[in-house]
Structure formats: C-alpha cells, structure tokens
Symmetry: C3
Subunit: 425 residues, 3 copies
C-alpha cells in the first residue's frame, strides 16, 4: 500500500471521533494512533494547569445535542455531524422562540451548504452550527434545544514519541489533534505525521526525533511549558505539520527567524518538488508556530503544507472532507515533501574534491558511455557539483548554488565518493 | 488655526522681503522669525571670512533698479518684483541700445510669462530678469538702465536656536533664507521649520534640538566651520528642510551614507503617509546636504520634501508663488511628515513581551468586543507587533518589519505596556 | 595600423598551422608568436607527465590524411582543411565498404555545409570529418582511407612571458593554442593576447604581468602544476582570453568566487562599453577557468569574451573563419575591453578631497566657461565624483557608485589632482 493510501485509511478511522481541546475525543484519537505507533506516550495535565499566560480549561464532554423543530423534527444533531454543536457548548435543555434561537445559531450565507466549525473555549455559551440553507428554512414557532454536555475539571491530553538517533540533537515535529470531523485541517496532520514516524523508525538516524501530538495553542503551550529548556538546547530544526492532505497547492510558512535551516530546506524541497508553491510570511501565521517561534521560545520551526488553513473555501466547514478535499495522492505529496526535508537534514555533509583541477572522470568510467539525450545534462550537473566541492559548502548548499534538488545530488555524488574522488567531511 | 495656515500666514509676511546671500533682506527675515521664535540667536561673520574652501563675499544692498524704455516707461522694476534684478548686480546708470541691453537680460522662452531667478554671487556683473513676453515686446531705441546697489565689505547673517532635551545628543534641522520672493523654494522651508520649533518647545524632549537658518551653501559652510566638532560628536539625525509647501509630490533625498537613521525614518514616514512619494538619490542632490554630508563632514542628514527643487515647472521663477504653488494644506502635509519623523526619533524604544508564547489578550480585555470591519485587522496588527517584541528590535524596526506606520504601533502598544504585557527597555 | 587589423593579420598567418594538444603545430604557432613577442619562453613537459589528475598523452603528428572514393577521388583531405582529420587519429591505411567507413565519419546534419571539429585525445581511434552534404553524396563501393600519423612519446609545449612591473603582485592572462583552423575559437585569443602584451611592454606598469599560451585543459593543468604556489601567492587578478574576435556579442563569465576584482572590473567595463552584453554564470563555464578556478586553485580569473564558445552557430566548425566570424573590428572591440579592464587595475587609487564641504571650482577655473549641451553633465559627473572622494572608496568604486565608466572619471580627476584638490592615497 502506498503511504498516501495508508494515511487516507487511517484518517477514515479517525474521522468520526468528536475531538475538541479536551475530553474523550482526544483520548480516543491518541489511543487509535498508539495502535500504529506503539511507543507513543500519552500524557495529561489537569484543568487549571498554567502554561505560561494560559490556563488549561475545564474538560468538555458532549454526549448528545440536537434542536427539535416546532414540527418535532430533530435537526443539527451532534450524532449526525459533530460540527453541529459549537465546541465547548455548555449544557442546555429549553424551549425557545425562533428569534431567541437565532442568537445561538451559526451558518455561512456565502457557503449555504456548509456547516461551519465554531468554538467558544474561553467564554461559556452554547450554540448550534448548521447550513445556511437549513437555517433559512426554519419557520416561526417553539424550538426545543437539547445539549447534554459537561464542563468540569478534568485533563488536557497530549502525546509524544522520542525516536533516538546517533546524536542527541533533535528534530522536532508537531501536529494537532483537537479538531472534529475535518480532513485537511486537521486529520491530514496527524496521519502524515504517523507515516513519517513509521518511516523514521525503519531507518538509520543521525538525529533524535521528537514528535508531539497536541491540541492546538493550549496544547503546544503545555508542551513548551514542560520541555522548553530541553527543546531550546537540542532542537536543530522542526516542522509544524498541518493542512498537508489536499491535491491543490503546496505552501510554506516560515519560522519567526525566517532563515533557519528548517526554512531553507522547506523552500528548497518545495522549489524542486512543486515550483509553483505559495510562500507565506510570518505575518500569515496561524498555527502552533505562534507558540513554538514566539519571542524567547524561538524554535527553528517551519511549516510545509498543501493548501494552508484559511486559504481554501472548505476550511473550517463540513466540506473539508476526505475525498472532497483530502486525497491519498494529496497526502502522499505532502508526506514526500516532509520525507525529503528530513532527508536533507539526515544526509547532508561537506564534500571536498580530492584532486586539484578538474578530475578526469573518463579514466574512472564515470562518464556515461552512451550519449543519449539527458545524459550530458547529468554530466553537466555532476561537473557543476564537483566544481563546488571545495570543503566549504555542504551538499545542500551546493544544491542551492547550482539549482538542482538535494536528492539528485545525493545520488550523483555516491559513485564519486566510492571512487575516492570526493572526501566526506 | 491649523499649523499649515499658520505657516502660510507667516510666509505671506516674509514674501516681499528682498533676500539674498547677504544684506538687509536676510536680517529682516531673521528678525521677523525671531518674533515667532524669541530664542533665535542671530549671528554674523564678516566679508572675507573663510569657510573651508569658500570666502564670504561683499554684502549686497539693492535699493532700486529699473529699465526705462525709449518711450519713458519703467519696466523690470525691482520695487515691483524683486526677481527683476539679478542677485548681486553691481550698480549701473547708463543708456544703451537694445542690442547692448540684451546681453544683460534674462528670460525663459519656454516659460514666457515667468520672470526667472538669476544670481551672480562670485562674478561681478549686472542684469535684469523679465518675462520672455515682455522682452520680445522691446523695440529698438535707447534704454536707460538704473541700478542703485552697493557691494561692500559687510556681514553674512545666519541664526540658530538650541532647544535642550534630556540628552545632549542632538537632532539637527537646517533651512535657508537667501532666496527672494519665491514660495516653495524657499519660504516653505523657514516657515515649516518655525512651526516645528514651536511644537518642539511645547513638548517633553528626549533629544536636544539645534535648528539653523542659514543662507544656502555659503551659510551652511559658515555654520559648519563654526560648529563642526560639536556637530560630529552630537548629531544623531538631521533633516534639511526645503521645498516643503506644495500639494503635489512628496519626496525624499538621502544623506550621502544613504542608510542613516534619518534616512530610514524619512523613507518610513513617506512610505506610509504618501506611498507614491519620489525617491531621489544622492546624485540628485542640490541643497545644503552637499555641505552637511560632504566627505569628512558626513552628518546623518536627509531631506523630506514635497516637490523637489528643479523638479516642478515654477521652480526658480516668479511663478513659484503662495497660492500658485504653495498652499496651507501643502505646508501642513510637509509639516506632518517632519513631525512624524521626529516623533519616531523621540518615541522609539525596544519592547519585550513579558510572557512566553502568545499572551492571552482575551482575559485582559484587549480583544475588541465588537467585531466590526477593520477591528480584526487591528488585532492582527497587534498580534504581529507582539510577535516581534523580542527585546532585540526597536518599535520602529518592528513597524518596518510588519509594514505598518510607527505612529499606529506607538498607539497600539500603549495598552499592552499599561497591562504590563510589554516591558520598555 | 589599428590594433584590430594587426591582430587580424597575425591570425591570418597562424590560420593554416595544424594545431592540436601536442605536436609540431603547437611549436610552429608558439614560434610564430615569438617573432612578435621576443621574450616568450617556450617550454615543454614529456609524455607521461602527471598534472594533478591528468597525464600528458603521446605526442601526435599528422602528416597526411585523406579518403579515396570508389571513383578514385580524394576527399576529406587534411592538406585542404585540417579539420577533415579527427584530432589524435591513429594511423590507418585500409580499404573499407561505405558501411564500415560511416562509423569513422563525423558530420553535422543541421549544418550541412560545415566540417565539424572532432577530437579523441584519450581514446585511440581514427576518423574523418566532412560536410554533411559531402557525406550524403557518398555512394556504395570500396573506399581507401589513409592516415599517416604518429602517436608516440614526445612533449607537450606551452609558453609564457613575464613582464615585470613596480610590484611583484601579478596580473595573469592565459589563452590557448591547441585548436586547428578556427578563428573565434581560438585564434582570436592568442592574437589579442599578443597585442595586449605589446601594449603592456610599451607602458609603465604597476603590476607584473604573467601571460600563458597553453593547450586548453591539459596545458593549463600543466601550467598550474608547475606554478601553483607562486600563482596563489602573487596573482591579484586574471583573465582567460578566448572567443574575443567577432562583432556580435560581448560576454562575461565569472570566476568561481564570482566577485573577485577581476569579475567586478569585467562587468564594469562591459556595462559601459557594451551595455547589452551577455552575463554567463559559473555553470556556463567551459574553458580554462575550469582549472584556474577549481577548488583549491581558485585564482581570481574572469573571462571577457565576444560571442562565447558554444553560443554561436559556427562554433567548432569550419565556418568559424576569419572574415566569416572574426573581423578586425571585432578583435579591436575585444582588445579594447581587455585594455580597459587592465587599465582599471593599473590606474585605480583612493582619492580624498582635501577641503571640507564642496570645493569652489569656479575660483580655480574648473567650471566650463561655455555652457554647451553636455558640459553641465560633465560638471555634474565631476561634482558627483568629488562627493565620494572620501578616502574610503577607490576611484573604481566611485565609478561603480555613480554609474559612470572608470575611464571617464580617470580623465575627469586629473585636473583636480593637478589643482591639489584631490589627494592620491
């Protein structure tokens, strides 16, 4: 099975779980992920835990929720689509006029067939989300609203996994698991991250890898509050993994420092894998880089995405579906970009040519014997690469200099190293 | 009264005074300014004073001047328009044929209704300036030319004013007072400068301010010759104030070093106040930056202008009038740009956010309660600003980084400082 | 005689000599050059000499070569055009069918009237080059092929000339002498270089000049192997001189470091002499900069060319002729660019204006008396130049800064130096 399909199948299983910042949905999600990643450490902090400027809120558990129309029909039923219930809705059981009800309804006039995703984590209220079409069809009369939820002291859950490498220096990956049934934002993130973890576990590693699955914002702040000195000492590069499953765009959003090695590699990979990719700036940020790259934190963490949050029409609605937005090939492409970025980190080195002047490749059989179209291009790339193997630049820097992908040079340099023409510093 | 109107009224009073490099016109102008700025120190150096490579010339005093036509009509009468007499004309009383007279006449065939402004400071001659239309109407015959002027050892006058601040470091402003009746070049300069002086005197000041009113070129050289070591030790930024009164363009001309703090602030202010402003280069220079930024002098002095000298059709002609070229709103806009530039110097500081991770603005009531159009933009600007309050950048640098005007951020940061979220370094 | 004509005449004499990497053609060429440049030192290394990664091959001497058609006609006769014989062809005397012969023939279907230039230095074979038109006209039958050549241990010849200057620091020029009868690539190189040598010998020199005439690739490697420590210690700038004789393009190819003084001067000269010149990159390289700028060698050596090798249709064919491609004016233009580049190296200095503020040029008679069109431009250039004579920039850097050619400023600064206004550091 191709990795994109594997991701897609896992996303299908995670789809119906009603995730939020806290509560059983997060736990179920992490437990399902642990079946794929047995080393996953699931952790928690209690309600009231102080993560820098933020406080972990009560745990929210929603059991059922619906509106009953004057005609006795159940609509906006949480059991049908978990977006119908505004996240963190307090419990209610009441009968209201339509006018009163309207103040608790959320819909999108511009997207009349989509249920919007709405939350109210830090102010107590209740609400229902529905399509604008359904809302417009409501007639006057008495409506019963029913929300069976609890908001009580409990826990916030998150998880991480540490995969050791030759070095204690770390590559840090983070993704989030707090959104209900939406595909690109967010299920693409945890499933592609899971696939990356499986690949990392299967290979020799120069770096140690730390992968976090956290609720967005408060979860990353909790994670930082628990690990900041360690992360600042060890992390050499990181990627925030989100919105990485559709087939439309590729995109990049920088770390606050903008030119960390993670940034430069992200741009390099996308430049060659998807030259038309969109370059966002720090001012366009909106995910956990807001925490990971905040002043005083400043982890070197970039985002490699497909269509960015906020930038595609189905974002934060019921239309962000598996199939409708996210595809196996979309996930595969996002996975590949991340795998390539990590491969640069793993396999870069500083090559030095061991002869003065150009080496004579002919006598070593390193010239192609048959001159078919393209083979001279290959020789040209090889000679250009050698011309920069001066012991001052890394192979990644050479790739940037000559405008070829790292993965092409990594392959081209192998026979030269084997022929002892290039020394590995 | 708005400041632009105040400037305009003052310019009207200064208009008729027959200024030149030296002589009673300069003194009358400085005395009139001293009525507004009582602390103004009026100074002088004698004819023959050596200012670096230049020598102060004889003092010129023109009492009357005119041409009498063969028909007995007085034309080019100095008492009607002080541009009619070439600056520094020597005395003459003679009768000439039209052919002989022509060698002493100056007009502009391309601007047939304008009297040109012509001077001959360093070579003795005499001349009259008139419209090309009037010149073409001259018929053959005997012309009497009469110039009652003196060119004798005397003085060159200039003035300065020192306004102390908390620091002995100085901001240096210079403008010139040697042109006869022309409005943008030059009356806009001294009147806007006078308004800036009044504003500075009315406020708390971080810096000490030094403001010079000097005849152009020789006057700035004299000022430098008297103050160079002090200026080089103390001046942190400066502006040469000229051509700052019309309503058409805004423009910037750099210091020789190009990227002094004065340059960067000038560009910042104009970028936000008048995005279509014209950026000139050092090669376009033509005013006292030629002296203030010369090799070995090198004060960090930029020019913020409206329509630059040499770049508008009425330049150096009788058409550069109050009303025709200079307006109250033009002066107001120029004043505002200078005030804003000085405000950046005065109010910049290095902010540092006092929490790790993003602060939670909601619990402090720093989020707008009502989400009207534009309010989310304001929150976005505030969050972007906070994201750079890392104790490494000044607020001005943050404004540059996020592409917002300093004055917007200065206002937006106030409640954050008050809430103790941002510390002031 | 203009220098372009002198070059053209010398090229005509060198034209028929059958040059290759080694052999009598190289020696004849060097001896002919020595008649113009008596100080030329002709040198040699034996077959088998190891130059870094390369080995000097056997010496090749071709005496005669032709194909006899079934009809008894001699074609592809070496005595008619020395391109007919593949360089380094081994001897053969045999009779073949057309099918067998075809495997030894080289022609260009896209350029049916051109004889291609083909060599096989490092693999033994034989071959004939002919026009595609002639090849297509061959009918079936028995062909006699005759090549009277030797491939035996001998020597590789090269030469250099050292022209001492005030300093032991060196300017290094290199050109190659291993191509048979082709004009732009390569005869333009040695003839323009010879003209430059004659000019250098005729003038006062700040630098010592080292000029090498070498077979391409193996010759430059031999030269480096003999002189590397000296070259690395002494060479401050260098130019590889090739393809410098046609009238079409001007072009520049950088050193590997890209911004050496040789690079910056080359770009400066071409920017002003031929603003539409082509800028190649290091990735477009193809001549001896591959050796001179290789990692660990890294001489500061740029190429100033007319139409670059590989970039004009007649390249490496019999159509690259004197008259057809190379002209006296083309050679003159290439020579002039090189002479100007060397003049920058020779005549640059750090000027400092000796007065504070702008100097008063009028009292020194340095303002033009008559204001004809262009004269104010000249004053403007002079004032701009003076404004940067701060003792920090060289005249070349000032020329770059104000966008004028070095040679214009060099002339403009003379009277200022003579008037003691500018000091020469």
């Amino acid at each position: 099975m191709r990795v994109g399909e594997w991701c897609y199948e896992l996303a299908k299983e995670l789809w119906p779980i009603p995730r939020s910042l806290t509560g059983p949905g997060v736990r179920q999600t992490l437990e399902r992920l642990r079946r794929e990643l047995p080393l996953l450490n699931i952790k928690s902090v209690p309600t009231g835990y102080q993560a820098f400027d933020w406080t972990v809120p009560d745990e929210w558990c929603a059991k059922s929720a619906f509106i009953e129309t004057p005609g006795g029909k159940r609509i906006a039923d949480f059991s049908e689509n978990n977006l119908h219930l505004m996240g963190y809705s307090e419990p209610v059981d009441a009968t209201l006029d339509l006018d009163e009800l309207q103040e608790h309804l959320y819909s999108l006039p511009d997207e009349p067939d989509a249920i919007p995703y709405v939350t109210s984590y830090y102010r107590r209220r209740w609400g229902f989300c529905l399509t604008d079409k359904a809302r417009k069809a409501l007639s006057n009369g008495k409506y019963r609203v029913h929300i069976d939820s609890t908001l009580e002291p409990g826990h916030l859950n998150y998880a991480d996994i540490i995969i050791p490498g030759e070095s204690e220096d770390e590559i840090f990956l983070s993704t989030y698991i707090c959104h209900p049934s939406m595909a690109n934002n967010e299920l693409s993130g945890p499933v592609v991250t899971a696939a990356i973890v499986r690949w990392l576990q299967s290979k020799k590693r120069k770096y140690t890898y730390r992968i976090a699955f956290v609720p967005e914002t408060i979860g990353s702040l909790v994670y930082l509050s628990k690990n900041l000195p360690h992360l600042k000492a060890r992390v050499v590069a990181g990627f925030n993994i989100t919105c990485i499953g559709d087939d439309r765009d590729y995109s990049y959003l920088p770390s606050r420092r903008e030119n960390s090695i993670a940034d430069r590699i992200a741009v390099h990979v996308l430049t060659h894998q998807a030259p038309a990719f969109t370059r966002y700036t720090w001012l366009d940020r909106g995910s956990d880089e807001r925490q990971y790259c905040a002043p005083g934190v400043d982890l070197p963490m970039a985002s490699i995405m497909r269509s960015k949050y906020g930038e595609y029409p189905e974002y934060h609605t019921s239309k962000d579906t598996l199939g409708g937005v996210v595809t196996a090939s979309g996930l595969e492409g996002g996975y590949l970009a991340l795998e390539r970025a990590i491969t640069v980190l793993e396999e870069d080195f500083v090559p030095r040519v061991r002869v003065l002047g150009e080496p004579q490749l002919g006598k070593r059989g390193l010239y192609p014997n048959v001159s078919i179209r393209g083979s001279t291009d290959h020789v040209r790339v090889m000679m250009n690469m050698i011309s920069y193997c001066d012991g001052e630049r890394s192979l990644f820097e050479i790739a940037e200099k000559i405008g070829r992908p790292f993965w092409e040079l990594r392959q081209a340099i192998e026979p030269l190293v084997a022929a002892d023409l290039i020394s590995v510093t």
